[in-house]
Symmetry: D2
Protein backbone atom coordinates (compact mmCIF):
# COMPACT_ATOMS: atom_id res chain seq x y z
CA UNK A 1 0.00 0.00 0.00
CA UNK A 2 1.34 3.36 -1.06
CA UNK A 3 0.05 6.69 0.29
CA UNK A 4 0.27 9.78 -1.89
CA UNK A 5 0.81 13.17 -0.24
CA UNK A 6 -0.14 16.18 -2.36
CA UNK A 7 1.36 19.43 -1.06
CA UNK A 8 -0.46 22.69 -1.75
CA UNK A 9 1.13 25.06 0.80
CA UNK A 10 -0.77 26.72 3.64
CA UNK A 11 0.44 27.80 7.07
CA UNK A 12 1.85 24.28 7.49
CA UNK A 13 4.76 25.04 5.17
CA UNK A 14 5.35 28.74 5.78
CA UNK A 15 8.78 29.98 6.81
CA UNK A 16 10.18 33.16 8.25
CA UNK A 17 12.22 35.13 5.73
CA UNK A 18 14.82 36.81 7.89
CA UNK A 19 15.91 39.51 5.49
CA UNK A 20 12.42 40.91 5.04
CA UNK A 21 10.53 39.71 8.09
CA UNK A 22 7.87 38.15 5.91
CA UNK A 23 6.31 34.71 5.96
CA UNK A 24 7.10 32.91 2.73
CA UNK A 25 7.06 29.53 1.05
CA UNK A 26 10.23 27.70 0.08
CA UNK A 27 10.16 23.90 -0.06
CA UNK A 28 7.72 21.69 1.77
CA UNK A 29 8.72 20.36 5.20
CA UNK A 30 6.81 17.10 4.75
CA UNK A 31 9.91 14.96 4.02
CA UNK A 32 11.77 16.14 7.13
CA UNK A 33 8.61 15.72 9.22
CA UNK A 34 8.25 12.11 8.08
CA UNK A 35 11.91 11.52 8.87
CA UNK A 36 11.53 12.97 12.37
CA UNK A 37 8.47 10.77 12.81
CA UNK A 38 10.51 7.68 11.85
CA UNK A 39 7.64 7.03 9.45
CA UNK A 40 7.90 3.71 7.61
CA UNK A 41 4.77 3.74 5.51
CA UNK A 42 5.35 3.76 1.77
CA UNK A 43 4.79 7.38 0.75
CA UNK A 44 5.05 9.41 -2.45
CA UNK A 45 5.17 13.19 -2.03
CA UNK A 46 4.26 15.60 -4.81
CA UNK A 47 4.18 19.39 -4.52
CA UNK A 48 1.30 20.75 -6.64
CA UNK A 49 1.54 24.39 -5.56
CA UNK A 50 2.81 26.44 -2.64
CA UNK A 51 0.09 28.99 -1.90
CA UNK A 52 -1.99 30.49 0.82
CA UNK A 53 -5.39 28.86 0.75
CA UNK A 54 -7.04 32.28 0.54
CA UNK A 55 -5.45 32.56 -2.92
CA UNK A 56 -6.80 29.25 -4.06
CA UNK A 57 -9.05 29.56 -7.12
CA UNK A 58 -11.34 27.24 -9.04
CA UNK A 59 -8.38 26.63 -11.33
CA UNK A 60 -6.24 25.39 -8.43
CA UNK A 61 -9.01 23.22 -7.03
CA UNK A 62 -9.60 21.66 -10.40
CA UNK A 63 -5.92 20.89 -10.67
CA UNK A 64 -6.03 19.12 -7.29
CA UNK A 65 -9.14 17.24 -8.36
CA UNK A 66 -7.46 15.99 -11.53
CA UNK A 67 -4.38 14.87 -9.61
CA UNK A 68 -6.56 12.93 -7.19
CA UNK A 69 -8.58 11.32 -9.97
CA UNK A 70 -5.49 10.33 -11.93
CA UNK A 71 -3.51 9.12 -8.93
CA UNK A 72 -2.78 5.40 -8.97
CA UNK A 73 -2.86 5.46 -5.18
CA UNK A 74 -6.31 5.34 -3.61
CA UNK A 75 -5.13 6.77 -0.28
CA UNK A 76 -4.27 10.46 -0.61
CA UNK A 77 -3.33 13.16 1.90
CA UNK A 78 -3.54 16.82 0.86
CA UNK A 79 -1.72 19.46 2.91
CA UNK A 80 -3.71 22.67 2.63
CA UNK A 81 -4.19 26.07 4.24
CA UNK A 82 -6.95 26.03 6.82
CA UNK A 83 -8.92 29.06 5.62
CA UNK A 84 -10.46 27.34 2.59
CA UNK A 85 -9.75 23.72 3.45
CA UNK A 86 -13.43 22.99 3.94
CA UNK A 87 -14.22 24.43 0.51
CA UNK A 88 -11.65 22.26 -1.24
CA UNK A 89 -12.86 19.22 0.69
CA UNK A 90 -16.41 19.84 -0.53
CA UNK A 91 -15.19 20.34 -4.10
CA UNK A 92 -13.34 17.03 -4.07
CA UNK A 93 -15.90 15.15 -2.00
CA UNK A 94 -18.74 15.76 -4.39
CA UNK A 95 -16.74 14.32 -7.29
CA UNK A 96 -14.57 11.53 -5.89
CA UNK A 97 -16.18 8.54 -4.23
CA UNK A 98 -13.73 5.68 -4.76
CA UNK A 99 -10.70 6.88 -2.82
CA UNK A 100 -9.86 7.88 0.75
CA UNK A 101 -8.69 11.49 0.73
CA UNK A 102 -7.70 13.34 3.90
CA UNK A 103 -6.95 17.08 3.97
CA UNK A 104 -4.85 18.44 6.78
CA UNK A 105 -2.83 21.55 7.67
CA UNK A 106 -1.67 23.56 10.64
CA UNK A 107 -2.53 26.67 12.59
CA UNK A 108 1.14 27.44 13.22
CA UNK A 109 3.96 26.83 10.70
CA UNK A 110 5.88 23.60 11.29
CA UNK A 111 9.14 25.55 11.20
CA UNK A 112 8.12 27.48 14.32
CA UNK A 113 8.32 26.03 17.76
CA UNK A 114 4.76 25.43 18.77
CA UNK A 115 3.20 23.94 15.66
CA UNK A 116 0.36 21.46 15.54
CA UNK A 117 1.65 20.31 12.14
CA UNK A 118 3.48 17.14 13.21
CA UNK A 119 0.50 15.97 15.23
CA UNK A 120 -1.88 16.68 12.36
CA UNK A 121 0.31 14.84 9.85
CA UNK A 122 0.41 11.80 12.15
CA UNK A 123 -3.32 11.95 12.50
CA UNK A 124 -3.94 12.36 8.75
CA UNK A 125 -1.66 9.43 7.94
CA UNK A 126 -3.55 7.22 10.38
CA UNK A 127 -7.00 8.27 9.15
CA UNK A 128 -6.12 7.76 5.49
CA UNK A 129 -5.14 4.17 6.30
CA UNK A 130 -8.21 3.34 8.32
CA UNK A 131 -11.24 5.31 7.09
CA UNK A 132 -13.53 4.05 4.31
CA UNK A 133 -13.58 5.76 0.91
CA UNK A 134 -14.58 9.40 1.12
CA UNK A 135 -13.13 12.87 1.54
CA UNK A 136 -12.27 14.04 5.06
CA UNK A 137 -10.57 16.81 7.00
CA UNK A 138 -8.20 15.77 9.82
CA UNK A 139 -7.69 18.62 12.28
CA UNK A 140 -7.85 19.08 16.07
CA UNK A 141 -7.37 15.35 16.62
CA UNK A 142 -10.64 14.60 14.85
CA UNK A 143 -11.89 13.78 11.37
CA UNK A 144 -14.77 15.44 9.60
CA UNK A 145 -16.67 14.36 6.51
CA UNK A 146 -16.43 16.89 3.65
CA UNK A 147 -20.20 17.32 3.76
CA UNK A 148 -20.55 19.12 7.06
CA UNK A 149 -17.39 20.82 8.23
CA UNK A 150 -16.26 24.40 8.59
CA UNK A 151 -13.48 26.33 10.26
CA UNK A 152 -14.72 28.45 13.14
CA UNK A 153 -13.02 31.76 12.48
CA UNK A 154 -13.33 32.95 16.06
CA UNK A 155 -11.58 29.95 17.58
CA UNK A 156 -9.52 28.62 14.68
CA UNK A 157 -10.99 25.16 15.25
CA UNK A 158 -12.80 22.91 12.83
CA UNK A 159 -16.32 21.88 13.73
CA UNK A 160 -19.30 20.02 12.36
CA UNK A 161 -22.12 21.96 10.75
CA UNK A 162 -25.45 20.84 12.16
CA UNK A 163 -28.26 21.37 9.66
CA UNK A 164 -31.71 21.84 11.11
CA UNK A 165 -34.95 21.07 9.32
CA UNK A 166 -36.27 24.51 9.95
CA UNK A 167 -33.33 26.37 8.53
Amino acid sequence: MTIKILVTGGTFDKEYMELTGELIFKNTHVPEMLKLARCRTDIKIRTLMMIDSLEMTEYHRNSILEKCKNSKEDKIIITHGTDTMAKTAQYLGSQIKDKTIVLTGALVPYAFGSSDGLFNLGSALAFVQSLPNGVYIAMNGRYFSYENVRKNKATGEFEEIHYNDTE
Copy 2:
Protein backbone atom coordinates in the same frame (compact mmCIF):
# COMPACT_ATOMS: atom_id res chain seq x y z
CA MET B 1 -17.41 9.70 22.36
CA THR B 2 -14.70 9.88 25.03
CA ILE B 3 -11.18 8.52 24.56
CA LYS B 4 -9.23 7.33 27.60
CA ILE B 5 -5.45 7.77 27.66
CA LEU B 6 -3.61 5.55 30.15
CA VAL B 7 -0.07 6.76 30.83
CA THR B 8 2.57 4.21 31.85
CA GLY B 9 5.82 6.12 31.22
CA GLY B 10 8.43 5.07 28.67
CA THR B 11 10.85 7.20 26.68
CA PHE B 12 7.89 9.32 25.62
CA ASP B 13 7.74 11.00 29.03
CA LYS B 14 11.38 11.02 30.10
CA GLU B 15 13.08 14.27 31.07
CA TYR B 16 16.62 15.43 31.58
CA MET B 17 17.48 16.00 35.23
CA GLU B 18 20.02 18.79 35.06
CA LEU B 19 21.56 18.39 38.50
CA THR B 20 22.49 14.76 37.96
CA GLY B 21 22.55 14.38 34.19
CA GLU B 22 20.11 11.47 34.40
CA LEU B 23 16.92 10.77 32.49
CA ILE B 24 14.01 10.69 34.88
CA PHE B 25 10.22 10.74 35.05
CA LYS B 26 8.28 13.64 36.49
CA ASN B 27 4.75 14.27 35.22
CA THR B 28 3.39 13.15 31.89
CA HIS B 29 3.62 15.53 28.92
CA VAL B 30 0.38 14.27 27.36
CA PRO B 31 -1.77 17.26 28.45
CA GLU B 32 0.65 19.84 27.04
CA MET B 33 1.00 17.80 23.85
CA LEU B 34 -2.77 17.76 23.36
CA LYS B 35 -2.85 21.50 23.98
CA LEU B 36 -0.10 22.13 21.40
CA ALA B 37 -2.05 19.94 18.99
CA ARG B 38 -5.19 22.05 19.53
CA CYS B 39 -6.86 18.70 20.12
CA ARG B 40 -10.64 18.90 20.58
CA THR B 41 -11.56 15.29 21.07
CA ASP B 42 -13.07 14.47 24.46
CA ILE B 43 -10.20 12.87 26.38
CA LYS B 44 -9.64 11.56 29.90
CA ILE B 45 -6.02 11.08 30.96
CA ARG B 46 -4.99 8.80 33.78
CA THR B 47 -1.42 8.08 34.87
CA LEU B 48 -1.15 4.44 35.97
CA MET B 49 2.61 4.32 36.49
CA MET B 50 5.74 6.13 35.29
CA ILE B 51 8.25 3.43 34.48
CA ASP B 52 10.67 2.19 31.90
CA SER B 53 9.01 -0.60 29.97
CA LEU B 54 11.99 -2.86 30.71
CA GLU B 55 10.91 -2.70 34.36
CA MET B 56 7.36 -3.70 33.59
CA THR B 57 6.33 -6.90 35.34
CA GLU B 58 3.37 -9.24 35.19
CA TYR B 59 1.98 -7.24 38.09
CA HIS B 60 2.10 -4.00 36.08
CA ARG B 61 0.59 -5.62 32.99
CA ASN B 62 -2.23 -7.05 35.02
CA SER B 63 -2.92 -3.63 36.45
CA ILE B 64 -3.14 -2.18 32.93
CA LEU B 65 -5.41 -5.04 31.88
CA GLU B 66 -7.79 -4.40 34.77
CA LYS B 67 -7.92 -0.67 34.01
CA CYS B 68 -8.77 -1.42 30.39
CA LYS B 69 -11.45 -3.95 31.32
CA ASN B 70 -13.04 -1.64 33.88
CA SER B 71 -12.85 1.47 31.73
CA LYS B 72 -16.21 2.87 30.73
CA GLU B 73 -14.62 4.14 27.53
CA ASP B 74 -14.20 1.59 24.77
CA LYS B 75 -11.50 3.58 22.97
CA ILE B 76 -8.24 3.52 24.92
CA ILE B 77 -4.72 4.76 24.16
CA ILE B 78 -1.82 3.48 26.27
CA THR B 79 1.49 5.37 26.25
CA HIS B 80 4.22 2.82 26.84
CA GLY B 81 7.97 2.30 26.52
CA THR B 82 8.88 0.70 23.21
CA ASP B 83 11.08 -2.11 24.52
CA THR B 84 8.24 -4.27 25.81
CA MET B 85 5.31 -2.60 24.07
CA ALA B 86 4.70 -5.65 21.89
CA LYS B 87 4.61 -7.90 24.96
CA THR B 88 1.99 -5.74 26.69
CA ALA B 89 -0.03 -5.56 23.47
CA GLN B 90 -0.09 -9.36 23.29
CA TYR B 91 -1.04 -9.64 26.94
CA LEU B 92 -3.97 -7.28 26.49
CA GLY B 93 -4.95 -8.50 23.03
CA SER B 94 -5.45 -12.08 24.10
CA GLN B 95 -7.89 -11.03 26.82
CA ILE B 96 -9.79 -7.99 25.53
CA LYS B 97 -11.90 -8.27 22.42
CA ASP B 98 -14.63 -5.68 22.83
CA LYS B 99 -12.63 -2.43 22.86
CA THR B 100 -10.23 -0.58 20.57
CA ILE B 101 -6.91 -0.24 22.37
CA VAL B 102 -3.89 1.45 20.78
CA LEU B 103 -0.43 1.42 22.37
CA THR B 104 2.03 4.09 21.36
CA GLY B 105 5.28 5.66 22.56
CA ALA B 106 8.38 7.38 21.27
CA LEU B 107 11.99 6.68 20.42
CA VAL B 108 13.08 10.12 21.67
CA PRO B 109 11.59 11.91 24.71
CA TYR B 110 8.96 14.51 23.83
CA ALA B 111 10.83 17.05 25.94
CA PHE B 112 13.83 16.85 23.60
CA GLY B 113 13.92 18.57 20.28
CA SER B 114 13.63 15.81 17.75
CA SER B 115 10.96 13.57 19.19
CA ASP B 116 8.55 11.42 17.24
CA GLY B 117 6.15 11.60 20.19
CA LEU B 118 3.77 14.26 18.91
CA PHE B 119 3.42 12.50 15.56
CA ASN B 120 2.81 9.17 17.27
CA LEU B 121 0.18 10.62 19.59
CA GLY B 122 -1.64 12.13 16.61
CA SER B 123 -1.50 8.83 14.84
CA ALA B 124 -2.68 6.83 17.89
CA LEU B 125 -5.61 9.20 18.43
CA ALA B 126 -6.68 8.77 14.83
CA PHE B 127 -6.34 4.98 14.82
CA VAL B 128 -8.27 4.56 18.06
CA GLN B 129 -11.19 6.45 16.50
CA SER B 130 -11.22 4.54 13.24
CA LEU B 131 -10.03 0.95 13.74
CA PRO B 132 -12.41 -1.88 14.70
CA ASN B 133 -12.23 -3.48 18.15
CA GLY B 134 -8.86 -5.04 18.88
CA VAL B 135 -5.47 -4.27 20.36
CA TYR B 136 -2.94 -2.44 18.20
CA ILE B 137 0.43 -0.73 18.26
CA ALA B 138 0.73 2.65 16.48
CA MET B 139 4.36 3.46 15.66
CA ASN B 140 6.30 4.57 12.59
CA GLY B 141 3.15 5.95 10.96
CA ARG B 142 1.63 2.46 10.84
CA TYR B 143 -0.59 0.23 12.95
CA PHE B 144 0.10 -3.36 13.86
CA SER B 145 -2.21 -5.98 15.29
CA TYR B 146 -1.05 -7.29 18.68
CA GLU B 147 -0.75 -10.79 17.24
CA ASN B 148 2.22 -10.28 14.98
CA VAL B 149 4.34 -7.29 15.89
CA ARG B 150 7.81 -6.83 17.34
CA LYS B 151 10.35 -4.07 17.78
CA ASN B 152 13.40 -4.59 15.63
CA LYS B 153 16.21 -3.91 18.08
CA ALA B 154 18.76 -3.17 15.37
CA THR B 155 16.69 -0.42 13.72
CA GLY B 156 14.37 0.69 16.52
CA GLU B 157 11.40 0.23 14.18
CA PHE B 158 8.29 -1.85 14.67
CA GLU B 159 7.60 -4.55 12.11
CA GLU B 160 5.25 -7.40 11.38
CA ILE B 161 6.26 -10.94 12.27
CA HIS B 162 5.72 -13.22 9.32
CA TYR B 163 5.07 -16.80 10.43
CA ASN B 164 5.93 -19.46 7.91
CA ASP B 165 4.46 -22.95 7.83
CA THR B 166 7.87 -24.51 7.83
CA GLU B 167 9.19 -22.73 10.87
Copy 3:
Protein backbone atom coordinates in the same frame (compact mmCIF):
# COMPACT_ATOMS: atom_id res chain seq x y z
CA MET C 1 25.94 45.46 40.10
CA THR C 2 22.55 45.62 38.48
CA ILE C 3 21.97 45.49 34.73
CA LYS C 4 18.93 47.22 33.26
CA ILE C 5 17.25 45.74 30.18
CA LEU C 6 15.05 48.14 28.21
CA VAL C 7 12.70 46.34 25.83
CA THR C 8 11.56 48.14 22.67
CA GLY C 9 10.24 45.26 20.53
CA GLY C 10 11.74 44.23 17.21
CA THR C 11 11.87 40.81 15.55
CA PHE C 12 13.31 39.45 18.81
CA ASP C 13 9.90 39.57 20.48
CA LYS C 14 7.54 38.93 17.60
CA GLU C 15 5.03 36.09 17.77
CA TYR C 16 2.85 34.25 15.34
CA MET C 17 -0.85 35.10 15.71
CA GLU C 18 -2.54 31.89 14.69
CA LEU C 19 -6.02 33.25 14.02
CA THR C 20 -4.82 35.81 11.49
CA GLY C 21 -1.44 34.47 10.36
CA GLU C 22 0.22 37.76 11.25
CA LEU C 23 3.35 38.49 13.25
CA ILE C 24 2.44 40.48 16.33
CA PHE C 25 3.78 41.67 19.66
CA LYS C 26 2.41 40.45 22.96
CA ASN C 27 4.72 40.43 25.99
CA THR C 28 8.49 40.35 25.85
CA HIS C 29 10.23 36.96 25.99
CA VAL C 30 13.25 38.33 27.87
CA PRO C 31 12.24 36.94 31.30
CA GLU C 32 11.73 33.40 30.00
CA MET C 33 14.99 33.62 28.02
CA LEU C 34 16.91 34.60 31.17
CA LYS C 35 15.26 31.72 33.01
CA LEU C 36 16.21 29.24 30.29
CA ALA C 37 19.74 30.63 30.44
CA ARG C 38 19.87 30.00 34.21
CA CYS C 39 21.04 33.62 34.36
CA ARG C 40 22.05 34.78 37.82
CA THR C 41 23.08 38.36 37.18
CA ASP C 42 20.99 40.99 38.92
CA ILE C 43 18.69 42.30 36.20
CA LYS C 44 15.81 44.77 35.99
CA ILE C 45 13.62 44.54 32.90
CA ARG C 46 11.46 47.40 31.69
CA THR C 47 9.32 47.40 28.54
CA LEU C 48 9.37 50.88 26.97
CA MET C 49 7.49 50.05 23.80
CA MET C 50 6.74 47.04 21.58
CA ILE C 51 7.27 48.21 18.04
CA ASP C 52 8.92 47.39 14.76
CA SER C 53 12.10 49.42 14.53
CA LEU C 54 10.96 50.75 11.14
CA GLU C 55 8.18 52.52 13.01
CA MET C 56 10.57 54.12 15.48
CA THR C 57 10.42 57.91 15.39
CA GLU C 58 12.43 60.75 16.92
CA TYR C 59 9.85 60.73 19.69
CA HIS C 60 10.56 57.08 20.51
CA ARG C 61 14.32 57.55 20.38
CA ASN C 62 14.12 60.51 22.68
CA SER C 63 12.09 58.45 25.12
CA ILE C 64 14.80 55.75 25.10
CA LEU C 65 17.47 58.42 25.58
CA GLU C 66 15.70 59.86 28.61
CA LYS C 67 15.27 56.42 30.16
CA CYS C 68 18.99 55.73 29.70
CA LYS C 69 20.00 59.09 31.15
CA ASN C 70 17.71 58.72 34.15
CA SER C 71 18.55 55.09 34.82
CA LYS C 72 20.33 54.51 38.12
CA GLU C 73 22.08 51.55 36.51
CA ASP C 74 25.09 52.38 34.37
CA LYS C 75 24.97 49.08 32.45
CA ILE C 76 22.02 48.99 30.09
CA ILE C 77 20.91 46.54 27.39
CA ILE C 78 18.34 47.65 24.82
CA THR C 79 16.49 45.05 22.77
CA HIS C 80 15.67 46.62 19.44
CA GLY C 81 14.63 45.78 15.89
CA THR C 82 17.62 45.41 13.59
CA ASP C 83 16.48 47.69 10.77
CA THR C 84 17.15 50.95 12.60
CA MET C 85 19.30 49.67 15.45
CA ALA C 86 22.36 51.49 14.13
CA LYS C 87 20.41 54.75 13.99
CA THR C 88 19.28 54.50 17.60
CA ALA C 89 22.82 53.56 18.66
CA GLN C 90 24.16 56.71 17.01
CA TYR C 91 21.43 58.81 18.58
CA LEU C 92 22.27 57.52 22.05
CA GLY C 93 26.03 57.37 21.55
CA SER C 94 26.40 61.02 20.68
CA GLN C 95 24.67 62.04 23.90
CA ILE C 96 25.61 59.47 26.56
CA LYS C 97 29.23 58.98 27.51
CA ASP C 98 29.15 57.78 31.11
CA LYS C 99 27.36 54.46 30.80
CA THR C 100 27.83 51.16 28.98
CA ILE C 101 24.87 50.65 26.68
CA VAL C 102 24.53 47.60 24.42
CA LEU C 103 21.81 47.28 21.79
CA THR C 104 20.89 43.82 20.56
CA GLY C 105 18.09 42.05 18.72
CA ALA C 106 17.48 39.08 16.48
CA LEU C 107 17.01 38.19 12.85
CA VAL C 108 14.47 35.51 13.70
CA PRO C 109 11.86 35.76 16.49
CA TYR C 110 12.86 33.98 19.69
CA ALA C 111 9.53 32.18 19.69
CA PHE C 112 10.42 30.44 16.42
CA GLY C 113 12.73 27.49 16.28
CA SER C 114 15.90 28.81 14.74
CA SER C 115 16.39 32.15 16.43
CA ASP C 116 19.69 33.85 17.12
CA GLY C 117 18.01 35.72 19.99
CA LEU C 118 19.25 33.63 22.92
CA PHE C 119 22.82 33.76 21.65
CA ASN C 120 22.61 37.52 21.13
CA LEU C 121 21.18 38.10 24.59
CA GLY C 122 24.02 36.10 26.14
CA SER C 123 26.51 38.07 24.13
CA ALA C 124 24.95 41.44 25.02
CA LEU C 125 24.90 40.57 28.72
CA ALA C 126 28.57 39.68 28.60
CA PHE C 127 29.59 42.78 26.65
CA VAL C 128 27.67 45.13 28.93
CA GLN C 129 29.60 43.75 31.91
CA SER C 130 33.02 43.95 30.31
CA LEU C 131 33.20 46.85 27.84
CA PRO C 132 34.18 50.40 28.88
CA ASN C 133 31.61 53.19 28.86
CA GLY C 134 30.13 53.79 25.44
CA VAL C 135 27.26 52.73 23.20
CA TYR C 136 27.58 49.48 21.27
CA ILE C 137 25.69 47.06 19.11
CA ALA C 138 26.09 43.33 19.89
CA MET C 139 25.13 41.18 16.90
CA ASN C 140 26.69 38.30 14.96
CA GLY C 141 28.91 37.39 17.90
CA ARG C 142 30.68 40.75 17.69
CA TYR C 143 30.41 44.23 19.15
CA PHE C 144 30.44 47.46 17.18
CA SER C 145 30.90 51.01 18.38
CA TYR C 146 27.90 53.24 17.62
CA GLU C 147 30.12 55.45 15.50
CA ASN C 148 30.73 53.12 12.62
CA VAL C 149 28.20 50.37 12.28
CA ARG C 150 25.45 49.56 9.85
CA LYS C 151 23.23 46.64 8.94
CA ASN C 152 24.03 45.21 5.55
CA LYS C 153 20.61 44.85 4.00
CA ALA C 154 21.72 42.26 1.47
CA THR C 155 23.13 39.84 4.05
CA GLY C 156 21.28 40.85 7.20
CA GLU C 157 24.62 41.12 9.03
CA PHE C 158 26.05 44.03 10.94
CA GLU C 159 29.38 45.40 9.75
CA GLU C 160 31.80 48.21 10.37
CA ILE C 161 31.71 51.27 8.18
CA HIS C 162 35.19 52.08 6.94
CA TYR C 163 35.58 55.78 6.22
CA ASN C 164 38.22 56.67 3.67
CA ASP C 165 40.03 60.00 3.49
CA THR C 166 39.07 60.45 -0.09
CA GLU C 167 35.35 59.92 0.40
Copy 4:
Protein backbone atom coordinates in the same frame (compact mmCIF):
# COMPACT_ATOMS: atom_id res chain seq x y z
CA MET D 1 41.50 38.62 15.39
CA THR D 2 40.83 34.88 15.46
CA ILE D 3 39.16 33.06 18.35
CA LYS D 4 40.02 29.42 18.97
CA ILE D 5 37.35 27.11 20.37
CA LEU D 6 38.65 23.92 22.00
CA VAL D 7 35.94 21.29 22.43
CA THR D 8 36.25 18.76 25.27
CA GLY D 9 32.70 17.39 25.54
CA GLY D 10 30.49 17.79 28.59
CA THR D 11 26.70 18.01 28.83
CA PHE D 12 26.84 20.75 26.18
CA ASP D 13 27.48 18.20 23.44
CA LYS D 14 25.60 15.17 24.69
CA GLU D 15 22.96 13.52 22.51
CA TYR D 16 20.20 11.03 23.03
CA MET D 17 20.97 7.63 21.51
CA GLU D 18 17.58 6.39 20.52
CA LEU D 19 18.41 2.70 20.17
CA THR D 20 19.76 2.37 23.69
CA GLY D 21 18.20 5.31 25.53
CA GLU D 22 21.64 6.48 26.65
CA LEU D 23 23.24 9.90 26.49
CA ILE D 24 26.29 9.76 24.26
CA PHE D 25 28.78 11.92 22.39
CA LYS D 26 28.93 12.07 18.62
CA ASN D 27 30.24 15.25 16.99
CA THR D 28 30.28 18.66 18.59
CA HIS D 29 27.32 20.97 17.98
CA VAL D 30 29.47 24.12 18.10
CA PRO D 31 29.53 24.69 14.30
CA GLU D 32 25.74 24.47 13.94
CA MET D 33 25.31 26.71 17.00
CA LEU D 34 27.55 29.38 15.46
CA LYS D 35 25.59 29.09 12.22
CA LEU D 36 22.26 29.51 14.03
CA ALA D 37 23.76 32.51 15.82
CA ARG D 38 24.72 34.07 12.48
CA CYS D 39 28.13 34.46 14.10
CA ARG D 40 30.64 36.38 12.00
CA THR D 41 33.69 36.39 14.21
CA ASP D 42 36.70 34.56 12.82
CA ILE D 43 36.69 31.22 14.65
CA LYS D 44 38.74 28.02 14.53
CA ILE D 45 37.17 24.98 16.19
CA ARG D 46 39.20 22.00 17.34
CA THR D 47 37.84 18.95 19.14
CA LEU D 48 40.38 17.74 21.71
CA MET D 49 38.26 15.07 23.36
CA MET D 50 34.58 14.21 23.85
CA ILE D 51 34.24 13.19 27.46
CA ASP D 52 32.25 13.72 30.61
CA SER D 53 34.16 16.13 32.82
CA LEU D 54 33.94 13.62 35.69
CA GLU D 55 36.21 11.39 33.60
CA MET D 56 38.77 14.11 33.05
CA THR D 57 42.19 13.18 34.39
CA GLU D 58 45.48 14.98 34.92
CA TYR D 59 46.46 13.62 31.53
CA HIS D 60 43.49 15.29 29.84
CA ARG D 61 44.04 18.58 31.65
CA ASN D 62 47.66 18.60 30.66
CA SER D 63 46.68 18.04 27.05
CA ILE D 64 44.33 21.04 27.20
CA LEU D 65 47.07 23.12 28.83
CA GLU D 66 49.52 22.28 26.05
CA LYS D 67 46.99 23.15 23.36
CA CYS D 68 46.34 26.51 25.00
CA LYS D 69 50.05 27.26 25.37
CA ASN D 70 50.82 26.31 21.77
CA SER D 71 47.81 28.03 20.28
CA LYS D 72 48.69 30.94 18.00
CA GLU D 73 45.43 32.58 19.02
CA ASP D 74 45.46 34.40 22.34
CA LYS D 75 41.67 34.29 22.75
CA ILE D 76 40.49 30.78 23.53
CA ILE D 77 37.13 29.30 24.49
CA ILE D 78 36.98 25.82 26.01
CA THR D 79 33.69 23.92 26.07
CA HIS D 80 33.74 21.69 29.12
CA GLY D 81 31.50 19.65 31.41
CA THR D 82 30.37 21.65 34.42
CA ASP D 83 31.25 19.15 37.15
CA THR D 84 35.01 19.74 37.02
CA MET D 85 35.08 22.98 35.01
CA ALA D 86 36.36 24.94 38.01
CA LYS D 87 39.19 22.45 38.51
CA THR D 88 40.35 22.75 34.90
CA ALA D 89 40.09 26.55 35.11
CA GLN D 90 42.37 26.56 38.15
CA TYR D 91 44.81 24.20 36.47
CA LEU D 92 45.06 26.45 33.42
CA GLY D 93 44.87 29.74 35.31
CA SER D 94 47.88 29.02 37.48
CA GLN D 95 50.03 28.38 34.42
CA ILE D 96 48.81 30.69 31.64
CA LYS D 97 48.93 34.45 32.14
CA ASP D 98 49.27 35.87 28.65
CA LYS D 99 46.03 34.81 27.01
CA THR D 100 42.30 35.26 27.57
CA ILE D 101 40.77 31.84 28.13
CA VAL D 102 37.06 31.33 28.84
CA LEU D 103 35.57 27.99 29.83
CA THR D 104 31.88 27.42 29.29
CA GLY D 105 29.39 24.58 29.10
CA ALA D 106 25.73 23.81 29.69
CA LEU D 107 23.42 22.29 32.26
CA VAL D 108 21.20 20.80 29.56
CA PRO D 109 22.46 19.35 26.25
CA TYR D 110 22.17 21.75 23.32
CA ALA D 111 20.37 19.07 21.33
CA PHE D 112 17.48 19.11 23.81
CA GLY D 113 14.85 21.76 23.84
CA SER D 114 15.57 23.81 26.89
CA SER D 115 19.33 24.19 26.83
CA ASP D 116 21.32 27.10 28.19
CA GLY D 117 24.11 26.20 25.75
CA LEU D 118 23.43 28.80 23.05
CA PHE D 119 23.20 31.59 25.61
CA ASN D 120 26.43 30.45 27.29
CA LEU D 121 28.29 30.24 23.99
CA GLY D 122 27.19 33.80 23.12
CA SER D 123 28.30 34.96 26.51
CA ALA D 124 31.69 33.17 26.32
CA LEU D 125 32.37 34.61 22.87
CA ALA D 126 31.68 38.10 24.13
CA PHE D 127 33.77 37.73 27.29
CA VAL D 128 36.76 36.30 25.42
CA GLN D 129 36.78 39.38 23.20
CA SER D 130 36.47 41.90 25.99
CA LEU D 131 38.14 40.63 29.17
CA PRO D 132 41.83 41.17 29.93
CA ASN D 133 44.27 38.25 29.90
CA GLY D 134 43.37 35.58 32.42
CA VAL D 135 41.38 32.38 32.78
CA TYR D 136 37.63 32.64 33.39
CA ILE D 137 34.45 30.64 33.58
CA ALA D 138 31.39 32.02 31.78
CA MET D 139 28.18 30.52 33.16
CA ASN D 140 24.81 31.83 34.41
CA GLY D 141 25.29 35.09 32.49
CA ARG D 142 28.34 35.95 34.59
CA TYR D 143 32.10 35.51 34.47
CA PHE D 144 34.27 34.20 37.28
CA SER D 145 38.01 34.34 37.70
CA TYR D 146 39.62 30.88 37.90
CA GLU D 147 40.88 31.70 41.38
CA ASN D 148 37.61 31.73 43.26
CA VAL D 149 34.84 29.84 41.53
CA ARG D 150 32.98 26.63 42.19
CA LYS D 151 29.85 24.86 41.04
CA ASN D 152 27.21 24.71 43.73
CA LYS D 153 26.09 21.10 43.51
CA ALA D 154 22.76 21.75 45.19
CA THR D 155 21.65 24.43 42.73
CA GLY D 156 23.77 23.65 39.67
CA GLU D 157 24.91 27.28 39.58
CA PHE D 158 28.40 28.69 39.57
CA GLU D 159 29.32 31.02 42.40
CA GLU D 160 32.26 32.88 43.85
CA ILE D 161 34.17 31.40 46.74
CA HIS D 162 34.57 33.94 49.51
CA TYR D 163 37.68 33.23 51.57
CA ASN D 164 37.62 34.42 55.17
CA ASP D 165 40.67 35.25 57.25
CA THR D 166 39.62 32.87 59.96
CA GLU D 167 39.21 29.85 57.76
